[in-house]
Amino acid sequence: MSEVLVTGLGTVGAYGCGGDSLRRALAAADPAPLLAAVDRSAGYHRAGGARSALLAGTGHLAAWLAPGEARRMSPPSKLAVAAARMALDCAGFADRRCGDEAASVVVATAFGPSSYSEALLRQILFEGPEATSPFLFTESVANAPAAQIAILCRARGPSVTVCQREAGVLLAVGQGAADVAAGRAPAALAGAVDEMTPLLHALLDRFAALAHVADTVDIARPFDRRRSGFLAAEGATVLFLEDAESAAARGGRALARVLAWGSAFDPTAPQAGWGTGQAFLGRAIVRGLTRAGIAVGDVDRVVAGASGARGGDRLEALTLREVFAHHPLPPVLAPKGTVGEYGGGFLGAAVLAAAGSRFGPTAGFAEEDPDLGVAPYDGSPLPRPSTVLATSFAAGGAASWLVLGAP
């Protein structure tokens, strides 16, 4: 088994392009200036429902994507390719191509290319099947972003797209790391992409999944007693993973070490909700840490996927308490209060946490929920962590985790 390093980070979100943009946003810990009004003109939203989202847009990607390339891509493909090229650039590949073409690509997406799927369905259902655009269809498949990364970054190893809602992003990184560790690929581009459309925003609003606060900006409140949902978000984050020996040979600089990964499932969860399986989820995480030779007490930072969802935050908090039942709970960062609910922003935050970046206080958090027993990070000075546990719990039962070490 090779040691796997993160040597490149590419990210696009409402915070802008690149790791420095994300770092600044996490330090500021204020999503309000980044929020954009969502188009509610179709009348799909609830009256008085959520109004805003953290939108990345694709209009500012010219430095990473030529117009001739972009014209053949859906928004998620554009975001994903831009993030992959940023990761390669960050890793020191000036031509923004994988140094070894046998690299694998693993991308998670919760909803796939939503805007193209919607446009395609409108054509099929309302104009007739013969009106179907072959281009829209080609770019509406869930694995289009992974395929475009492979084509443009010259990655000819395994190409895998993971769809497991909120848990998908850490599954994807785990799969990429496993490919490298087992020698199936010399390197991996692994991450997540999602886009937020007015229709998707409206449907999440009708599920009562989104955060909204009457008469002021929408605020997600991870782990807070008053939490009412999450901030919808979009963007892409891609990591360049490679084995330590290869990185050293070419002078690559580690942002973090990938120490362990794993996943579990809570069968008590309903199709679109969270269950009560904190006991066995907690045991599964402890077993996974033990298998990787990591003691629970060695974990000195947690990056939680808590988004402000009532059930999701509750399950995550109770599971963390199970994991740390015999140890003090380390400081818990909850970056989705700032970057919103999309896997990429959370993943980027986890890497930056391991790299020692400074975080601001948890956006939106003000009042502890006594049922949860977790008060997320308050912004006070912290030493650099050595071992970071990132956890992500999906509606529907899936859970995943990733352990990153300081470089």
């Binding site: 259902l125 498949v141 694995n143 895998v160 799969q175 990964w261 399986g277």
Partner: protein
């Protein structure tokens, strides 16, 4: 965490149970009977009105599931078609393996690796039509059943799975990629039992989309034939139970086959067209053989991806020639899609089941032979140069001594996957 050491790779992984839902019916028995008879399940279908579509055939699953299945599942009414197919196949596979379900937490540790390209898209289309035209008729709660990860999650919920659950959505390679991931997890000891497979149902999005690409044959598909003119759609699910061989033998069960290796690659060539050189697909097959520790000469037949599109079959043939050399022309090719259609995200899984059944029964199922009943219309492409493959047509090919087989899956976006299965001949590892 996956700990794939050399010792892990030495762990032989058995297929201890299989389950399937296909155009031949709900179960492995109707699947094998239909495959062995070489009769196509591709025919006019009812799932949606195809009158306005360019083509009108598919291998549709009969409406009625086995008696009692719906009653045994509390949430049956809330499940999508794809979820139902997946659940039925999983229950059959687990029962066939002789495992007691629902499973207890971590004893054994059970995981689910599943492939799907569209999950509950058929139901999403019904929702979307209602939502746009008359919002009062659209139940937002019904959307819960319409996730790509729905089929794998439904299995995990129903069977009490507490180990890893992951859904792969890499178009037509999804099922085979899921099986490869499950193989790695069993070898590493991450799980004791893996339920791996895939499920997809017919939906208008893929039906119209592939027709827009003019990739669909107006008749039943004819993979690898000179008069091939495109794919045919199918639907259904397949699940394989994977366990360490030693675990299966220890409880006195008989393995159906050994999943010896898996490999994957990407063409990195084009979003829809395969690399005509076949080098990407060849790399996946070579990686699977390497993973299995077998030379090409140990392979006695191939279950080809064989969609029936002119470009795909030509590229796949080029790949097989690269891997098997001159022997490719003598290597029997069995073509499951010619009978059950293309199950998209589940194709690799049902073809894996077909490959296991061929090894188990010692004979390869045939594809329909004969000439195309309707000659190409004016303006259609003339016949393609023939591929000199050794196709199994019209009647089963006895191959009782077959040692191992390769099953290939080649997807949209250039994602390739290959699996190597070995016959279980009774020897312990």
């Amino acid at each position: 965490m996956t700990n794939e050491t050399a010792a892990g790779r030495a762990c032989r992984v058995a297929v201890s149970g299989v389950g399937a839902v296909s155009g031949f019916g709900w179960g492995v028995v109707p699947l094998w009977e239909g495959l062995r008879a070489g009769r196509s399940a591709i025919r006019p279908f009812q799932r949606f009105d195809s009158a306005l579509h360019r083509t009108h055939l598919a291998a549709e699953v009969a409406a009625e599931p086995p008696a009692g299945l719906a009653r045994a599942c509390r949430e049956w009414r809330r499940l999508s078609q794809a979820d139902r197919f997946a659940l039925c196949a999983a229950l059959e596979a687990v029962a066939g393996a002789g495992l007691a379900a629902p499973f207890a937490d971590a004893d054994p540790t059970v995981g689910v690796w599943f492939g799907s390209s569209t999950g509950g898209m058929f139901e999403s289309e019904e929702f979307f039509r209602a939502f746009v035209t008359d919002r009062r008729r659209a139940r937002v709660g019904a959307l819960a059943a319409q996730q790509v990860n729905g089929p794998g999650d439904a299995i995990a919920r129903h069977l009490g799975v507490t180990g890893p659950v992951a859904t792969v959505s890499s178009a037509c390679a999804s099922g085979a990629l899921a099986l490869g991931a499950a193989l790695a997890a069993v070898r590493s000891g991450e799980v004791d039992v893996a339920l791996a497979g895939g499920a997809d149902s017919l939906c208008q999005l893929t039906y119209a989309g592939f027709n827009a690409l003019r990739s669909v044959d107006e008749g039943a598909c004819r993979p690898f034939r000179a008069d091939r003119a495109g794919m045919s759609f199918g639907e259904g699910a397949a699940v394989l139970v994977l366990e360490p061989l030693a675990r299966v033998l220890a409880r006195g069960a008989e393995p159906l086959a050994v999943l010896a290796g898996a490999g994957a690659s990407c063409d990195a060539h084009h979003m829809t067209a395969p690399d005509p050189s076949g080098s990407g697909a060849a790399a996946a097959v070579a990686a699977a053989l390497c993973d299995a520790g077998l030379p090409p000469s140990a392979i006695d037949f191939v279950n080809a991806h064989g969609t029936g599109t002119p470009l795909n079959d030509t590229a796949e043939w080029a790949a097989l020639q690269q891997v098997f050399g001159e022997r490719a022309e003598r290597l029997p090719l069995t073509l499951t899609k010619a009978l059950v259609g293309h199950l998209l995200g589940s194709a690799g899984a049902i073809e894996a089941v077909a490959t296991v059944l061929c090894l188990r029964h010692g004979e390869l199922h045939p594809a329909p032979g004969g000439a195309r009943p309707v000659p190409p219309a004016e303006g259609e492409a003339a016949e393609l140069p023939p591929l000199p493959a050794s196709l199994v047509l019209d009647r089963p090919l006895p191959l009782p001594a077959a040692r191992a087989a390769v099953s290939t899956s080649l997807a949209f976006g250039g994602s390739n996957a290959a699996l190597v299965f070995a016959r279980w001949a009774g020897q312990a590892a």
